[in-house]
Symmetry: C2
Subunit: 219 residues, 2 copies
């Protein structure tokens, strides 16, 4: 028979999975705000981030309670410490979506992204959302195989970022400094969202296999 | 009489303080590499980051050992979980110094930063280093007062970043896109180093006072 302790462990995992869904919506809406110069959607992303912060607090409180009251050992201890880190990754992904939304808001009524960069940013957003989806599955199923897919997606993200730099730094770039600065920072935000997705997945791999986690942050 | 358990807790705090010193050197050398276009110093920052990663692993292993074997409760439990987070902040500060060094290396033999932006970047680096120093003191002494100073320094960092944007986005900016993109990203890196310093300090405040920690990330 299941007891309250295992139910609480499960509820933490459920909350982490729920958070990935909320983060995916944040990434998607932030990108929509960015590419359509929609201030209302941008504001929504910014204000909805409070829900992600609140979810982080709930997971932290529950994890602490279990650590303090149940004194878990071995794999449960590892899981709870991993949960505390994963929730920090998810919160950062929410913050980074807010940053994208703030760039959008800053340039309204103009679209911050020049037309020839739109496909690159769109693809970055698609890859980021796909990675968040994959992470949700990895957390829910403890599916270590999915983590490999994420590394590939992360590689595509890096290539997209390099291609945005090539366009901006080409002599034929007609848009001047401001859009270039926006795109450099936007690219950094999407790339960091991807990095946090990889980091989340690696924490699950560590839980399942004991294999060491390393931090990701390419430039 | 002190026992091995308290010695191990102390050794974790000592290691965190040592890491802040190593991070400060990384920030300082990365800035030197940046402002003098010194590829050798840049390489040193990049390769020395392995020592910060290794320190992170040591702190993580020791914290896990204590969590698993000693099953600490209340304040010791909070301290160990805080240590796991603080070490993640410190590792990121090292990574961000590496990013600064990589921008430096990318532009050698040229200096990535145009002359009129040098004072701003220099000041950003000085503020960042000062903040890392303050954090070392806060961790070592559990001095909650020092945390207030950090919030002020962080505000100065934000102002420096805004001032760099004003210079780059002015019509009279003569340097084109590439240095602007470099400075936008460099500003982001120094700002994130400052944010992590504030985050570290808030974790100590939380340990000492029980006051809630919130994440910092301005744009």
């Amino acid at each position: 028979m299941r007891n309250a302790y295992f139910d609480q462990l499960d509820s933490i995992v459920d909350e982490l999975v729920d958070m990935t869904h909320v983060v995916k919506v944040a990434v998607s809406l932030a990108t929509q705000a960015l590419l359509t110069a929609d201030a209302e959607i941008a504001e929504k992303v910014i204000s909805d981030d409070a829900a992600i912060d609140a979810a982080r607090e709930r997971v932290e409180e529950r994890s602490f309670e279990l650590l303090a009251l149940q004194q878990p050992v071995a794999s449960d201890l590892r899981m709870l410490v991993a949960a505390l880190r994963m929730v920090a990754d998810l919160e950062r992904m929410g913050d980074l979506s807010v940053h994208v939304a703030k760039v959008a808001r800053l340039r309204v009524p103009q679209v911050a992204v020049p037309a020839e960069i739109v496909p690159t940013i769109e693809r970055m957003a698609t890859v980021a959302e796909k990675m968040v989806d994959t992470v949700a599955g990895i957390i829910a199923e403890r599916d270590v195989e999915g983590a490999r897919q994420l590394e590939e997606d992360d590689e595509e993200m890096d290539q997209l970022r390099r291609s945005s730099f090539r366009l901006m730094l080409d002599d034929s770039w007609p848009h001047g400094v401001e859009p270039a600065v926006d795109i450099a920072l936007l690219g950094r935000y999407y790339e960091r969202i991807a990095d946090h997705a990889v980091s989340l997945a690696r924490r699950v791999v560590y839980l399942v296999t004991g294999e060491t986690v390393t931090t990701v942050d390419h430039l």
